[in-house]
């Protein structure tokens, strides 16, 4: 069963992340790298990716005169995808357990971020 684990945050959340000390950021990344290694070793790892900041996001709707209609204005409350992990696991519970580990990764001063991670199964009709 393939699941995607989505980490999202508002602009305010991204701004506060950018203010973390380099030490806090390194400690956070070290745990995320360790989780990736563990998932690779268990054969559950498919992919992971971080996204660039929301200030560069564009919303595209249809075309006008053959050009895409783009908009870069988003409500402050909008949640932006920050990054994702794709895992292939035996049960939904295992997907939740992995999401729990990601949520427990350390933030400022080593305290767990407790970031909510949205867990979604891939649709079987996608291919």
């Amino acid at each position: 069963m393939k699941y995607i684990l989505l980490m999202s945050g508002s602009k305010a959340g991204v701004d506060s992340y950018l203010a973390w000390t380099p030490q806090d950021r390194d400690a956070h990344m070290a745990i995320l790298h360790k989780i990736n290694r563990e998932l690779t070793e268990s054969g559950e790892f498919i992919a992971t990716q971080g996204l660039t900041g929301p200030s560069e996001a564009k919303l595209v709707r249809g075309e006008k005169n053959g050009l895409p209609v783009t908009d870069g204005v988003f409500p402050e409350a909008k949640e932006f995808l920050l990054g994702f992990w794709i895992v292939d696991v035996a049960t939904p519970e295992r997907a939740y357990a992995i999401a729990g580990k990601i949520s427990a990764a350390p933030g400022p001063n080593g305290a767990p971020t407790n970031m909510p991670i949205e867990v979604r199964q891939f649709a079987s009709y996608s291919k």
Binding site: K2, I4, L5, L6, L18, R25, M29, A47, Q49, G50, L51, T52, G53, P54, E56, A57, K58, L59, V60, R61, G62, E63, L67, P68, V69, T70, D71, K78, E79, F80, L81, G83, I86, P92, Y96, A97, A99, G100, K101, S103, A104, P112, N114, M115, P116, I117, E118, V119, R120, Q121, F122, A123, Y125, S126
Partner: protein, 131 residues
Amino acid sequence: MKYILMMNATKANWEDFAKWTKEDLQRNVAFMRTFSKELKDKGIFVGTEGLGWPNEAKLVRAGKDGQPITDGIFPESKEFLAGYWIIDVESPEEAYRIAARVSAAPGRGGAPGNIPIEVRQVLKGFTDLGI
């Protein structure tokens, strides 16, 4: 440059989608298949997936004892990821053009859906964030 094109939808949008006729669905799926094939033919396709229904989504937070705390309750206004495409293109403008094509995918009665597509560059490294 790798970009992710995301199709997001609220619960109301999903419920509406569930009421599409079989003909509308088939037309939309046929468009998506042709679209993916075109991306592959151009050599810019990296990946695509559709996601399961939002009523199956869970929000997970770390518990104190290492056990995940799951929650399945979401605000009506929340946008759920419905599906995405990852493409490898030369410029952001090319990513926007491709997003516009997906946005124009046929909806009810074959009219363009005009669904907004969120276009984001994926990170190569943290230098992309300016940190």
